[in-house]
């Protein structure tokens, strides 16, 4: 099975995603160049983290118009899995693959640190290797990760079990919806209505090796792998 990892100008986690797939999962991966219209037969597309087009204007706003995105959107419409991580989540929202938007962190600062996430729904193609309620430690590294959507959208996401990951923590006395970035309802990751597009701000590809602090992110890749291979 093959992962296609899009390299936009300014992507900088494409390499990490590639290594996670190839070294840890032992699967095939190929970089997809933003100027091309070719997914190279990828079964799963990863929109990686970074600062596509420098995050100028709004994160993801310019990247969503890259030639490759036409194919990514078509792939998603066909039900193909798409994994948007960090900047990839922002791009997926801008491209309309996912509802809502990611705004400047409430603290107005870039935040890089390992965070705790709770798996809210383990019955999806991206989370089947986890248990519902399981807590994961996965790093975040972003300045614009405050998930925002209107009430109706939030209600739908919750009602349909499409909130896959939520931030937990904040210490004693913290808000029920505590998050490191001010996300509504502490949302860290969601899926599309068809369930095949995942957007998440934390970086599972950075959490695939205990040596670097955590291997909790592997489950995301293994889940999608088991689904596609099934």
């Amino acid at each position: 099975m093959k992962f296609g990892i899009v390299t936009f100008p300014g992507s900088n986690c494409d390499y990490d995603a590639y290594r996670a797939v190839v070294e840890v999962l032992g699967e095939e991966a190929e970089f997809l160049w933003h100027k091309e219209h070719d997914l190279r037969d990828a079964d799963v597309v990863i929109l990686p983290g970074g600062f596509s087009y420098g995050d100028y204007l709004r994160p993801g706003a310019i990247a969503r118009f890259s030639p490759i995105m036409t194919e990514v959107v078509a792939h998603a419409r066909r039900g193909g899995p798409v994994l948007g991580i960090c900047n990839g989540f922002q791009i997926a929202c801008e491209a309309g693959l996912l509802p809502g938007a990611l705004l400047r962190n409430a603290g107005l600062k870039f935040v890089c640190e390992p965070v705790r996430l709770r798996v809210e729904n383990a019955a999806t193609m991206f989370t089947s290797r986890y248990r519902a309620g399981q807590e994961l430690t996965i790093p975040i590294a972003h300045g614009d990760g405050r998930y925002t959507a209107d009430d109706q959208t939030l209600a739908r996401l919750e009602g349909e079990g499409r909130v896959l990951f939520r931030y937990v923590g904040g210490g004693p006395g913290a808000d029920e919806w505590w998050s490191p970035n001010g996300s509504m309802r502490a949302i860290a990751g969601i899926v599309s209505d068809e369930g095949n597009v995942l957007g998440m701000m934390p970086h599972p590809e950075r959490a695939v090796n205990e040596l670097l602090g955590s291997a909790d992110g592997i489950g995301v890749f293994e889940s999608v792998l088991s689904r596609v291979n099934a």
Binding site: P9, N12, G54, K109, F110
Partner: protein, 768 residues
Amino acid sequence: MTASRPVQPRPGDPAITPALIAEHGITDEEYRRLVEMLGRAPTFTELGVVSALWSEHCSYKHSRPLLRTLPTNAAYVLQGPGENAGVIAIGDGLAVAFKIESHNHPSAVEPYQGAATGVGGILRDVFTMGARPIAMLNSLRFGSLDSARVRYLFGGVVKGIGDYGNCVGVPTVAGEVVFDPAYEGNPLVNAMCVGLLRESELMRAVAQGVGNPIIAVGARTGRDGIHGASFASEDLSEANEAKRPRVQVGDPFTEKLLLEASLELIHSGHIVAIQDMGAAGLTSSSAEMAARGDVGVTIDVEKVPVREPNMTPYEILLSESQERMLVVAIKGHEDAVRAILEKWDLTASVIGEVIAEPVYRVTEGDRVVAEFPGTRLVTDCPTYTPPAAEHPDIVALRARDVSAIAERPEERDPAWTLLQLLSSPTLANKAWVYRQYDSSVRTNTVVGPGGDAAVLRVRGTDRAIAVKTDGNGRYTYLDPRAGARIAVAEAARNVACAGGRPMAVTNNLNFGNPRKPDVYFQLREAVAGMAEACAALGTPVTGGNVSLYNETPRGAIYPTPVIGMVGVVDRLAHVTRSAFAHAGDAIVLLGEPTASIGASEYLQRVHGTVAGAPPACDLAAERALIDALLDAIGAGDVRSAHDCADGGLAVALAECAIMDRDHPLGARVDLSPWRGLPLRGLLFGEAQGRVLLSTPHAERVLAAAGRHGVPARAIGTVTGGPSLEVAGTARPFTVPLDRLADAYFESIPRIMARTASAASDSPATTAV
């Protein structure tokens, strides 16, 4: 020496007058030299070129004779000083390129852009060697955080460093931040970059091959930053306010493209040399590459892509627009070079060529606007060895008997003093800073910021590299030679605590105006101390940067040599962290406390006193300590190791207990062996040559220490309880860990919250 051909002044150029010459920072003597070199008067363009190349920043005229005294050799040094970055071999055909650079003056004027462009510049220095940047570090100095202006500078600098490095996708993994009124008005911003390369892919910035095209790559040239190099060579004063347009704006997005394109270019075999257009832009990059290759070059400024209309040759040559590179390609490969750049949406323009004739020539179309004979432009710049004399005030300060300073009543409770120190912004935890840095991108960061040195794995091997910056301006102020020695020793200890063998050093000398005898004395002595320490510890200097004229109307900063140390961890299993890890482990102190409190953070924080002699630094003992520690780590006996220096033993103990904030582990120690020492020397004195470690095998660690002649003692146990207990002294005390943690972790956030929004999140530094 043949004089260069006559060059007609360009219509519209100002006349060369003594005032104009002075404005360019060129002394009478230097002007005479220039005229002698040319065999005629210079044109305006030539004056500009020389003023940049002979500026302190580019020519090192006050430091070069001193720098020659530094040890630079070791079998594994592939590239010493003189290139864009130093390079050392780390085995398996791999090498590490690294360099530090200052952006002090630009950051004082515009903290965000000043710091950001500093990061950009040092990144380019490393990737032009053919290395992929794998880590950024920084070393920062600010005035007291009590000042709103300082909070603004601090916030802006940190955001500038973060935004730039984060966007390029290089993790910022370590550094240091010190706050002291001595840096009020003249902050220090030193940035270091570390890159990884194959030895076979090492690229040097040496122009060669007559007929080879010279290509400008990357961003267009604008009017920004003209004369930044000479700007960095002057005192900061009110008059500088008028120089604000010299500020440069960074574009990390273009830098990222440039990084990828440059590495692709270097690996493509289509080019022979590449160099950043940094300080003094096109002028210095082209002149330096020509000088290294001992070849001539000719450049046509009309071919340089510009951002604004009507730019003069003077402006084009001296612009410091960011994210530009100069490439010497192989003749006939121009299209291949262009294709690689276009792939990354960058442009490449042939602007000149390497010529046989030994001249440095600049044309504007057909008209020659500047021409210098041979490579003398770079090599003939003057050097100075001004008079040196230590200031008597400093002699007196150092000689002061600080042990006579009476204790404050509160000090009767050592816990009070400890909390004071832990909450001192200089010692307090810097997560407020490094949370804003992406420290985990590229997935190599085994140990990120927060401990002693940072550790990055080297993929495909079982090895890692450990890196850290260190410096102590207060020590260097009170005793320049000792201060510099200690900076090297501390950086080496930090690296060793992480499990790394210290290998090589890059350094940044931040000093005042060298024409003042007391400042030149500091510079000379500090370089001597650094040389001694690097020789003794076997860590040659592979490069660095000198930043002089760090003064404000109120005087010079503390002389601040900053050391960037790179070490190699032989096996990943040896990577060691600072925080206590296991309840039940024994706590061992390597090295010995002393009575000394001279020059300590304690004196400054608790008594507002900067005086006394810095602690002695016995270099042979430092080396033995490192060897003993690495032996014990190599034997698998060490569970945590932490340098015991700033703030003394009590602070180091507290840090070990609380540093892993989610898993604090209490400890109990008995310091009765040193009952005879004055208590504050024992607890808060900053004796060098010490490491605090935890181990399940105390006897084996003590034996290893014994083999190396390092004094060592088991002083207590990691209890895992909720407090730190210090017994065996005249005033035993117990402090709950949560109080220690609150002082240590919340101090800077609390201060910044005071006016954080005004200072650091102002729209002025926050792009919308």
